[in-house]
């Protein structure tokens, strides 16, 4: 009971801390003369404050243990989903509140699926709301909250709960500052470049600024949401394609690696196991996608084929989901290409980045463990075979590390398959169901046509769960189970 009250208290604090975001969006709506949206944001602001204070009053301040920290992170995601969905639902661009919740979770989990209708008539303020939450969720929504809450040493449990395992500096506040300094630098540079391209492409000053901001946030958070009904295809600009590709690749790289490179260790890029594994798995996926695309016969010249294949494979691997084709068009690339995309999405980006999926570091560790086992067969049983991998520093492979990586990988694969099974139960073909399920769990947001406002409600709920579980890398779910089991004992 004490733990439960502590959990309520801190979730309440987190929710009330984030109420100011709704207020800022209300001001933005007033500036842009979107008065109806301004009222929606005021209602949202009041709801944040109300929900936050109810939980604070129900709860009690207490010590945050590792498990409690994890549970706080997991449940705050759910509470935030219901609140973030409020202005979406009030905008009348959704068929139901469930659809709004689906989009809210898709944003918070940086997935990028969307059930919105008539997106081209959405207000500036509501579009900014749609992109702002994935952006801050990508950086670590709870990490931000911790800064406001003037973290205690036990607050690190909350940091771990988001799936960010890298601890750049010993102190959590310093970690938060480093993450935000790197993110802010990229934000200013990224938005400026995209803004200039937008102006050059005749989008208009104000419009180009908002599109630059939204695209940057979407790319950096590897979210893949788009402000238009035709994603980046809307701009017909290879410069925007290239810029967004650079942004989502940077977003999928570990903050730890960014920090190391920015502090002068540039050679780390070439030595890092994650980067090497990324290039390897990207190569494999690209081969599959290329074969599929060539077989489809859709593209008649090499630049078109290469640009489309590379952009989408990279977007899938970074678990971004920004696309140069229409939603549902990917199915025309054929099953081989879809398998390539499934591999890329399933593997995902770097641990400690904004991307989702199993994570390339875990794949690298498992491959190294396999090599170690094969090597040990060639030596006498008395020989000790050691294998190491390089991630900022040389790390010796041990059973604990391999076991942890295997558990997370198996959790992902099981969830991918369970989601696919649900799709099959509703009559969708296996490859489409698997594609959509992997896309939801890995936080990519590519769709080959199943995800739409017309899909069955149960599937929406299953995908919401998959997005949530995938974002938190299952660790937080294990924490909830362990807390429940602990209480029973």
């Amino acid at each position: 009971m004490t733990n439960l009250r502590t959990i309520f208290y801190y979730i309440g604090r987190i929710i009330s801390s984030f109420s100011f975001i709704a207020f800022i969006h209300c001001i933005l709506a007033i500036i842009m003369a979107e008065y109806s949206s301004a009222i929606d944001f005021l209602i949202t602001f009041s709801s944040f404050v109300l929900a936050g204070y109810i939980l604070i009053l129900l709860g009690k301040k207490g010590e945050i243990t590792w498990v409690v920290g994890m549970v706080i992170v997991s449940l705050s995601w759910f509470f935030l989903m219901f609140l973030v969905a409020i202005p979406l639902f009030l905008s009348c661009h959704y068929l139901s509140y469930l659809d709004s919740c689906f989009d809210a979770m898709s944003g918070l989990a940086t997935v990028g699926f969307s059930l919105i209708n008539d997106i081209d008539h959405l207000s500036y303020s509501l579009n900014t709301w749609r992109f702002f939450f994935p952006y801050i969720a990508g950086q670590g929504i709870i990490l931000v909250a911790l800064v406001f809450l003037a973290s205690s040493p036990s607050g690190y449990g909350m940091y771990l709960g988001e799936g960010r395992e890298d601890r750049i500096l010993p102190n959590i506040a310093s970690t938060a500052r480093i993450i935000w300094s790197i993110a802010m630098l990229y934000l200013v540079v990224g938005i400026s470049i995209l803004w200039l391209i937008g102006i050059n492409k005749d989008l208009g000053m104000v419009n180009a600024f908002f599109h630059a901001m939204w695209l940057y946030m979407s790319g950096w958070a590897t979210c893949g949401l788009s402000p238009t009904s035709s994603s980046v295809l809307f701009y017909y600009s290879p410069l925007i394609d290239l810029a967004t590709m650079v942004v989502f690749i940077l977003g999928s790289v570990s903050f730890y690696l960014h920090y190391t490179v920015w502090t002068g260790k540039r050679l780390e890029i070439f030595k890092n196991t994650e980067i090497r594994t990324f290039l390897f798995t990207l190569g494999i996926s690209f081969i599959f996608v290329s074969i599929g695309v060539v077989k489809s016969g859709l593209y008649h010249d090499f630049p078109s084929f290469f640009l489309n294949s590379l952009y989408h494979t990279t977007s899938a691997h970074a678990t971004c989901g920004l696309s140069m084709v229409y939603p549902g068009y990917l199915i025309r690339w054929g099953e081989i290409a879809l398998i390539g995309m499934v591999i890329a999405m399933g593997v995902g980006g770097s641990a400690g980045s904004t991307s989702g999926g199993i994570k390339i570091l875990r794949i690298g560790i498992i491959v190294k463990a396999l090599i170690q086992d094969i090597k040990s067969l060639a030596f006498p049983s008395s020989a000790v075979v050691c294998e190491k991998f390089h991630h900022i520093k040389d790390i010796l492979l041990n059973d604990r590390l391999v076991r942890a990586s295997m558990i997370i990988m198996l959790s992902y694969i099981s969830t991918y398959l369970i989601g696919a099974l649900v799709g099959i139960m509703y009559g969708y073909p296996f490859i489409k169901s698997l594609f959509e399920s992997v896309s939801a769990t890995s936080g990519t947001g590519f769709s080959c046509g199943i995800v739409s406002s017309n899909m069955p409600s149960f599937m929406k709920i299953v995908y919401i769960f998959q997005m949530w579980a995938g974002r938190l890398e299952f660790i937080s779910i294990f924490a909830i189970i362990s807390l429940i089991l602990g209480r029973k004992r």
């Binding site: 009053l57 008539h121 005749d202 009904s229 035709s230 017909y236 489309n308 140069m324 229409y326 068009y329």
Partner: protein
């Protein structure tokens, strides 16, 4: 000779019929996306987003409730678009005639329409978005409850 004229007339009719068959009238954008190859089409939709100038062309994005697609048209052939769809504005409804490209060689393999002509069917308009009274009522109740809870919390904390 007579027969020859008749024969050529029949051939022209057949050709005309085939041309009509190949030209798709009034199809939706989502249907268009399924087309596997280049095709002469005629399509209707609302202009969304600001028309963008690309060298000697304008790029218009049109939307028809089923999807959106980019349309390229020469500057001299583009009619004046007064309203383009955005928040609070319904864009001009236009009819586009031209060639649909599922993977355009000129535009990096992207799907588009190269229009030969555009006709404005219906002028767009501003859409009033009045502030709902129901929403104002909900806001008042939620704000009062939130203030009450903040007050209770302050009292509770001070005790």
């Amino acid at each position: 000779m007579k027969l020859g004229v008749r024969g050529s007339g029949f051939g022209i009719r057949i050709l005309f019929f085939l041309l009509l068959c190949s030209l798709s009238y009034g199809i939706s954008i989502s249907d268009l996306i399924q087309e596997p190859r280049e095709k002469a089409i005629e399509i209707e939709g609302e202009v969304v987003g600001k028309p963008m100038r690309r060298r000697n062309f304008y790029l218009l994005n049109i939307y028809d409730k089923t999807g959106g697609i980019g349309v390229f048209i020469r500057l001299d052939k583009c009619p004046k678009i007064r309203y383009y769809g955005r928040y609070g504005v319904m864009g001009d409804k236009i009819r586009v005639s031209g060639i649909f490209n599922p993977a355009c060689k000129e535009h990096w393999g992207k799907m588009d329409i190269h229009a030969s002509s555009i006709e404005v069917l219906e002028k767009g308009r501003r859409i009033e978005k009045p502030v709902s009274r129901t929403k104002l009522g909900i806001l008042a109740i939620l704000s009062l409850l939130a203030l009450l809870l903040i007050f209770v919390r302050k009292r509770y904390a001070s005790n």
